[in-house]
């Protein structure tokens, strides 16, 4: 079942890539059909999910792969990965819907994004370090082609920067994984086995180095300050759906790696690094927000808010390593962190799709080019307002649920986390300021005659925002899913 979810998009991608001469419309609808099927399959997965006892995995599958290094094809989901698997299905389906009028090589685009979907699904399902790394690297390759092939402006340069940066991260990750493998006795790449063994527990020096390598790899991908410089150009020059997937899904790979691998497998080292991680998180929150405030380009601004939002996740997982405090607050923080990954995925994907509408219509992201958009495009203004408010953490949306838990949990663990709170204020200010400049006042510049949202743009964005609203109003189904897994992670990191 899980393997089907992982490989169905890949099979469809191969079929689409091989079918030369397929009419464009057929390719686009086939893409939407496959992502829809994925959504249904993931729905079945979620419906059939029952939190496994003792922190185990559901829908587990394991096959021999490279037995000589004890690496197997091992997949499974739990409360940490299932929400992200569902998020992946939703965001990719929204992207397919958004692209129903795409005129630039739609068959190749569909094949590429289906391939990307496979890598994302595979990464979140992987329970083996080599499998994880495989999907991690392939997602970079796929995204490179998505930016270079369908981007605009200096796309080739941005794509190269993205590839070099994240590939550097992935190699640091590989070095860390090899360190973990060699430290385990018997040597293994299997994540549950490594978590059970916590191999570097009694070697503080080696543990610090190995975790340092893993952290570097994940921090580049997340991205945190100071490794975030690849993100703004990549987003600015990528297409709308490229940005949506990059921010909505690919960034989560970094933070997911923290809770899946780094925290449970290296608890001692994590505790030792907790303050560093917390500090980097606070800096990312503040720096991301302040730099976003200074942007004059809508897409660049949204990109920097991603740095800010991912910073909250870092604050939470950092605070989770402060074992001197009670477990309850830290569990709350980790639950908030995973909720934030889902929430940020939904909201940022919606925001990037909306920003893409600007470029589709007029070819510009510069705020100065617009003014008073609300008059010619009221629906667009309404959706952008909803997305902006969701992103700044207004109660009633998923962002609030996530950030509330993160702060309640982290501040419960250490007062130091309070320093990140002003980040919310700055985010609110920057979104309101951007909204004013774009939508209010007399209609000027490129805003004149701006066509309003069309159905194929409206529906995907609407669905993403509706889900965020749903999580905001009725958070318990998601929290019930995440909380037991968060409890397990905190238990493991406190060893």
């Amino acid at each position: 079942m899980l393997s089907l979810i992982v490989f169905l998009p890949l099979a469809a991608a191969v079929a689409l890539a091989a079918a030369r001469g397929l009419p464009d419309a057929v390719a686009r609808w086939a893409w939407l059909g496959v992502t829809g099927a994925e959504l249904v399959l993931v729905g079945v997965l979620v419906a059939g999910y029952d939190t496994p006892a003792d922190g185990g995995l559901a829908w587990e599958e394991r096959l021999r792969w490279i037995p000589s290094v004890n690496s197997s094809y091992h997949v499974g989901v739990d409360g940490l990965s299932l929400p992200l698997v569902a998020l992946t299905a939703v965001v990719f389906c929204a992207c397919a819907g958004y692209s129903l009028k795409e005129g630039r090589r739609p068959r190749a685009l569909a094949a590429l994004f289906l391939f990307l979907q496979s890598t994302c699904m595979g990464l979140f399902a992987a329970q083996d370090l080599i499998l994880f790394f495989l999907f991690f690297d392939l997602s970079i390759v796929g995204m490179y082609f998505a930016i270079a092939g369908w981007g605009h402006g200096g796309a080739a340069r941005s794509a190269l920067k993205f590839f070099l940066y994240t590939f550097l991260g992935s190699l640091a990750l590989l070095v860390g994984f090899i360190g973990l493998y060699l430290a385990a006795d018997p040597h293994t790449f299997d994540i549950p086995q490594l978590v059970a063994a916590a191999p570097l527990a009694d070697d503080a020096v080696a543990g610090a180095w190995v975790l340092g390598a893993v952290l570097l790899g994940l921090a580049v991908k997340t991205p945190t300050v100071p490794f975030h410089t690849w993100l703004p150009p990549a987003h600015t020059d990528a297409s709308a759906i490229g940005s949506a997937v990059l921010a909505g899904i690919l960034l989560k790979m970094g933070t997911y790696g923290f809770v899946r691998i780094a925290m449970p497998a290296m608890p001692e080292a994590w505790q030792a690094w907790a303050w560093v991680i917390l500090t980097v998180g606070v800096v990312s929150v503040l720096y991301g927000a302040l730099v976003a405030l200074a942007q004059s380009d809508v897409k660049r601004m949204i990109a920097y808010t991603s740095v800010n939002h991912m910073g909250y996740v870092l604050v939470a997982v950092g605070a989770a390593g402060l074992v001197a405090e009670g477990a309850e607050a830290r569990e709350l923080a980790v639950t908030g962190a995973v909720t934030q990954m889902v929430s940020h995925g939904l909201i940022t994907a919606a925001l990037f799709l909306l920003a893409g509408v600007l470029h589709d219509r007029t070819g510009s992201y510069a705020m100065a080019d617009y003014g008073g958009l609300a008059a010619p495009a009221p629906r667009y203004a309404g959706f952008f307002a909803v997305a902006a408010f969701a992103s700044l953490g207004l109660p009633g949306f998923s962002g609030f649920v996530a950030e509330f838990q993160i702060f309640a949990g982290s501040i419960g663990a250490t007062w130091f986390a309070v320093l990140a709170v002003p980040g919310i204020l700055v985010t609110a200010a920057l979104f309101l300021r951007a909204y004013q400049r774009l939508f209010t006042g007399p209609t000027t510049g490129r805003a004149e005659g701006f066509p309003d949202l069309r159905p194929r743009e409206l529906v995907p964005v609407g669905v993403l925002l509706l889900l965020s609203l749903l999580i905001g109003v009725l958070p318990w189904p998601l929290l019930d899913l995440i909380a037991p897994a968060a409890e397990t992670v905190v238990g493991l990191v406190s060893r």
Binding site: A148, A156, A159, I178, G179, L182
Partner: protein, 468 residues
């Protein structure tokens, strides 16, 4: 003296094939040289099949301990035969009907024979002979095109080869003088208490000669020139096959040396220097062949990592052999793409390759990403096992250097991939790609993926003891 000609059947096939190809070529008119090609192909297939059959043989040495019959020998024979077959496949379009077609095939077979013997021998004297046997055809192959560039490259290769050949003989002489024997088993005992400085001189000499064949620092100078100036099949051959023999030979020699000379550090430094130099030099290249030439130099650096930890732990040898196999198919796939579109010599000429021939572009991406080490390709598994072996052998710093180098290498491989997927310029119709080479490229790329995905079945097969 333990004589057993049947144990050398794959080598005999190659030798007989070379002679038969040469004879056939001498008596055939130019338009029927394909018969010579058929003879050469048959000889390679026979060598491969007999080598595969010999894998089941018990591990032993033959001819008085000068020649090992073990897993490493089997792997070398198979990879050499398969690589040479691919070289012929990618070169048919370029060679067919030329004046020196059959001579080229004969030289390829002799070069393959040299590499095969080099990787299998356990005796310094046979190693020296294998060096000459593998090098002399190489000089001919480099200069075969008879262009001014090819002549210069051939002369450079010849002078360096002659120099390093003498250095290798000198090293072998010193080791013989110290250890009182040339066979490795006897050397292992004889070198026990000898002065370290003398041992180091002998080792440096032999290792220097092997580095010339492998194309690693300090014997790498000929590689980029020869790769750029020689014909595409010759370039593909000389950047692939000689390395296979040389690196396994180095591994065999190092396992019998006493640890008194710190050869691990020496080889590790050579590895770091080779990969760094190869990568840095590849940055600025605009000719794809020269870029590939430098890229092969950097790959030798990674391949030297398991050699540096030879004999420590049982992961090093399978890692080396697997990386060699993966590297060989990846490199040949890239050369096959170059051979398929001979008009696109510079990186800028690659523009629009994907639009015109998507299969070829796919093969190019797979081969270059494999050379970078992206999963799920063959070199990724190779790199993974090589990194693991090196770290396990106590060379964690070398793993970090290699990882940093891998990132750096990405830069120039992407400089090639990016224009290939760019929009074609108007009026740059490059014509259709050559047929045989395109097929060879796709086939090799499929092997790259297959080898990577089937690593679980292949790796245990490579895990066997060395003979002697």
């Amino acid at each position: 003296m333990h004589k057993e000609p049947l144990a050398l059947l794959p080598e005999i096939c190659l030798l007989a094939g070379a002679v038969a190809t040469l004879l056939a070529g001498s008596f055939l008119p130019r338009e029927r040289q394909w018969v010579a090609r058929l003879v050469a192909t048959a000889a390679l297939v026979a060598a491969g099949v007999t080598a595969a059959l010999a894998l089941a043989d018990p591990v032993r040495t033959v001819y008085g301990g000068t020649f090992a019959v073990d897993t490493a020998t089997g792997a070398v024979r198979l990879v050499v035969a398969a690589s040479t077959l691919l070289v012929i496949g990618l070169g048919v379009d370029e060679l067919a009907g030329t004046r020196r077609e059959s001579e080229t095939y004969a030289l390829l077979l002799l070069g393959a024979l040299g590499a095969s013997v080099m990787g299998s021998t356990t005796d310094l004297l046979v190693l020296a002979i294998a060096f000459l046997l593998g090098s002399i055809p190489l000089y001919g192959l480099v200069g075969m095109l008879r262009s001014p560039g090819a002549a210069e490259a051939a002369l450079k290769t010849y002078l360096l080869g002659a120099f390093f050949g003498i250095v290798l003989l000198l090293g072998a002489t010193v080791l013989y003088g110290l250890g009182g024997a040339t066979a490795y088993t006897a050397l292992a005992g004889g070198l026990g208490g000898v002065p370290v400085s003398a041992l180091a001189v002998g080792l440096l000499g032999v290792l220097g000669g092997l580095m010339f064949k492998a194309g690693g620092v300090p014997g790498h100078f000929w590689v980029p020139d020869a790769t750029q100036a020689a014909g595409t099949p010759a370039a593909a051959f000389l950047t692939t096959v000689p390395k296979i023999g040389a690196l396994v030979a180095a591994y065999r020699l190092l396992t019998v040396l006493p640890p008194t000379a710190d050869w691990t550090l020496l080889v590790a430094v050579l590895a770091a220097a080779t990969m760094t130099l190869g990568n840095l030099a590849a940055f600025a290249q605009s000719d794809v062949r020269r870029l590939l030439g430098w890229s092969t130099v950097s790959q030798v650096g990674y391949l030297l990592m398991p050699v540096a930890v030879a004999g420590r732990g049982d992961e090093a040898l399978p890692a080396l052999l697997f990386y060699l196999a993966g590297y060989a198919v990846s490199n040949l796939a890239a050369f096959a793409v170059v051979a398929a579109v001979p008009g696109r010599r510079s990186l800028e000429d690659q523009r629009g390759l994907a639009a015109g021939s998507p299969w070829l572009a796919g093969a190019l991406v797979i081969s270059l990403l494999s050379l970078v080490g992206t999963p799920p390709t063959a070199v990724f598994v190779g790199k993974l096992s090589v990194f693991t072996a090196a770290w396990d052998g106590g060379l964690a710093w070398l793993v970090v250097v290699a990882a940093a180098n891998t990132v750096a290498s990405l830069f120039y491989y992407l400089r090639w991939i990016a224009p290939a997927f760019g929009r074609p310029e108007e009026g740059t119709g490059q014509g259709r790609p050559r047929r045989y080479a395109a097929v060879a490229a796709v086939l090799a790329a499929a092997c790259v993926l297959g080898l990577g995905l089937a690593a679980g079945t292949v790796l245990p097969l490579l895990d066997g003891p060395l003979a002697g």
